[in-house]
């Protein structure tokens, strides 16, 4: 149960990585089915939480199509499969919003120009560092006080503005920002990452 609450461990990540490889090399549909059955329901939940429930199926479709078509671009030393799939999901959501015109932006720059997906070996990011970060963050999330975790989830997962989250939690905006800042410090998503 503990594992389910805190997300997958590195064995799990390896399993998804292997399945992605089978999809990339052998166009293995059984392997892809496993990926689909785990991630599609979570992407759907993400869309609903983000307030774009009507587009949930479209988002699932777009993301899973990207995963199927570009599994060969996944680099396991750069990100875990769920991190990689998260970045694709986030970008597809931005694309959807741009299309719907909810983001006040009509830019001739592509979403991937502004939000890069960890795809090719970037020599500036040491892969060891990326993997250490994965381990570190997964561990740190477990240590977060409930109220901080809730604040982060609402901003990160539900796509809400700080004001919306503050109202929902019935705390002043400053308090919410304080919680977010504290959680970021705790998660060490800061400059000292180099010491990992």
């Amino acid at each position: 149960m503990e594992a389910a609450k805190t997300g997958m461990g590195s064995d799990e990540a390896k399993k998804w990585g292997r399945l992605l490889q089978q999809v990339a090399h052998d166009r293995d549909r059984a392997a892809f089915r496993e990926i689909y059955e785990y991630f599609a329901p979570r992407i759907k939940a993400y869309a609903i939480n983000q307030g774009i429930g009507q587009q949930a199926d479209e988002l699932v479709q777009e993301v899973m199509t990207s995963v199927w078509r570009s599994a060969d671009k996944y680099v396991d030393t750069l990100a875990s499969p769920s991190t990689w799939i998260f970045t694709i999901t986030r970008n597809q959501r931005i694309d959807l919003l741009r299309k719907l015109g909810r983001l006040k932006a009509e830019i001739n720059v592509e979403t991937e120009d502004l939000w890069q997906i960890p795809t090719e070996e970037d020599t500036t990011i040491h892969s060891i560092q990326a993997l250490a970060a994965e381990k570190h963050i997964r561990h740190s999330i477990k240590q977060l006080p409930e109220e901080q975790l809730i604040a982060v989830r609402k901003v990160y997962y539900e796509g809400k503005t700080h004001q919306e989250v503050a109202t929902e939690l019935n705390v002043p905006l400053g308090t919410l920002k304080g919680r977010l800042r504290l959680s970021m410090q705790k998660l060490k998503v800061m400059l000292e990452s180099k010491d990992l």
Partner: protein, 215 residues
């Protein structure tokens, strides 16, 4: 290597994909120049992956996968699905000519030139521009109604709060009243993203307001 970075909350919003596009452009321009923040982004993406895993899944019908696979090889069905591209490049590359000297600068004063990107980017509610401040020149004292993000692309400037160099990311809001001065040795070129009009505060410079006013 730059010394001034976006704060944690800005980075969180950026990685979550909720930071408005115009401001995300400033963050992306900084990331291109800052390895430290590329690493921070990697970590925040990981946070996103973990949160995605931990979410309670929504029911998906059993036959949905088969239907999905039936359509997947049909290029026309999901041809629009974006395939992630490897791009470690400059987010401004598409927007700007290769060299700053090829930019069609519009002279604002003798010492300040501007290249307005707002229209070409079509970003409503924001003003996005490149500013060129002549070496050693000073921008008239001003305050902002909203938030001003600045990424230094070349050269540097100093103001009441610090000295900034190439790659630095500077955020100023309504509580700051500042007078940036370009460093002596070279022109300072920066990307600025403004979410409300700038207001000049010096008594003699109020007339400048319409000139710099937010359009």
């Amino acid at each position: 290597m730059s010394n001034h970075h976006p704060d944690d909350i800005t980075m969180l919003d950026y990685a979550a994909g909720t930071l408005p596009m115009a401001q995300s452009l400033a963050v992306a321009a900084h990331l291109f120049l800052c390895e430290t923040c590329r690493t921070r982004t990697t970590q925040l993406n990981t946070l996103g992956g973990a949160v995605l895993e931990q979410s309670s899944p929504q029911q998906i019908k059993v036959q949905e996968f088969d239907r999905f696979m039936d359509g997947i090889d049909d290029e026309s069905v999901a041809a629009k699905a974006a395939v992630p591209k490897a791009k470690n490049g400059n987010p401004l590359a598409k927007i700007l000519p290769e060299r700053f000297s090829d930019i069609n600068w519009r002279q604002q004063t003798k010492e300040i030139a501007e290249y307005d990107l707002t229209k070409s980017l079509g970003l409503k509610g924001y003003r996005v521009a490149l500013q060129k401040i002549k070496a050693g020149a000073r921008v008239p004292e001003h305050t902002h109604k909203g938030r001003e993000l600045t990424v230094i692309l070349s050269g540097g400037f100093s103001d009441e709060l610090g000295v900034y160099h190439e790659g630095d990311f500077v955020s100023r809001d309504a509580t700051h009243q500042h007078t940036p001065t370009a460093l002596q040795n070279e022109d300072c070129i920066c990307l600025t993203v403004l979410d409300a009009p700038i207001r000049f505060t010096g008594p003699l410079l109020r007339w400048l307001n319409p000139l710099f006013a937010w359009r």
